[in-house]
């Protein structure tokens, strides 16, 4: 994993995130922590039904759990260097289910200096244990000018 040093960073450098084991318990805990008790995350009977053309076949993890893991990866990387997590945009590509293990990762895409600060753009993605990308997006970190 690359160090969060603005001058040394270059496109293609990587940031490693933590593995996260998804279980019925982890999803239930996320319900309590987020107050999002949508039956998508709680009710297997409800999830036997179809959603348009999609059938999930059982409860799924909150998409925002991916978001929280990516955010955790970014802050854990940036904060010790005095950098600030300023933006995160994500989209969900595949459902995540109990039994899956997911892991976020980042790749430095570009650096930008503006009138008053310095910025790093990071491509982010979350993959499951089969190497499938379940969430993807882009983040922006600020490295305040010295």
């Amino acid at each position: 994993m690359t160090t969060a040093n603005f001058d040394a960073l270059k496109a293609g450098d990587t940031i490693d995130g933590p593995a996260f084991a998804v279980s019925r318990e982890s999803i239930r805990l996320f319900c309590d922590a987020s107050l999002d008790y949508n039956p998508l995350h709680l009710d297997d009977n409800y999830m036997k039904g179809d959603f348009g053309k999609t059938n999930f076949g059982g409860i799924i993890m909150h998409g925002m759990n991916n978001f929280g893991l990516i955010s955790r990866m970014l802050t854990d990387w940036a904060l010790p260097a005095g950098a600030i997590h300023r933006r995160l945009e994500t989209r969900w590509l595949k459902p995540v289910k109990p039994g899956d293990t997911i892991r976020p990762a980042g790749t430095i895409k570009a650096k930008q200096t503006t009138a008053k600060s310095r910025w790093v753009l990071v491509d982010v993605a979350v993959q499951n244990q089969r190497g499938e990308t379940v969430a993807a997006g882009e983040a922006m970190l600020e490295f305040p000018a010295k």
């Binding site: 922590a33 039956p39 929280g68 955790r72 989209r91």
Partner: protein, 163 residues
Amino acid sequence: MAQAESSAATPFETDFWKDAKLRKVWDDIVPGEPRKTLPYQLTQDAIALYCRAVGETNPLYLDEAAAKAGPYGGLIAPPAIHILLMFACTPADDWMRSPGTVNAGQSWSYNIPARPGDTITLQARALDKFIKRERLFVVHDNVFFNQHGDVICSGRGQTIRPM
């Protein structure tokens, strides 16, 4: 348990079916119209519970002495605490709670951290709605403020509405 509580007198209703009939369906949602919101006092317990759910261990969120010596001079919440604030700051009849609401993606910008003890308010609305591949989408926009009127974070997202 250390469950987050709304500052409203009534406890948080975890059965999202209960008020389902009161909520707007896609047809009722008017882009531009503000959503009803509630002020919410963020507690250290709620922050700790969120941290546990996503495995956050940074002392800035959890260790008062370490946080006091750190860059923010005290405990802060992780940036993504808006995941909780979205539901904490909206009433039971808010359409974001409609069973079957599917999150299609979000983007958030962060200004200053939320802190334990903050009284947080939300300004929120639907911005747009559209139909794509037989699915009903709504674009929403949200800005969270602290008790000083400072922006904590702002975000927009898309949900697919239940049919």
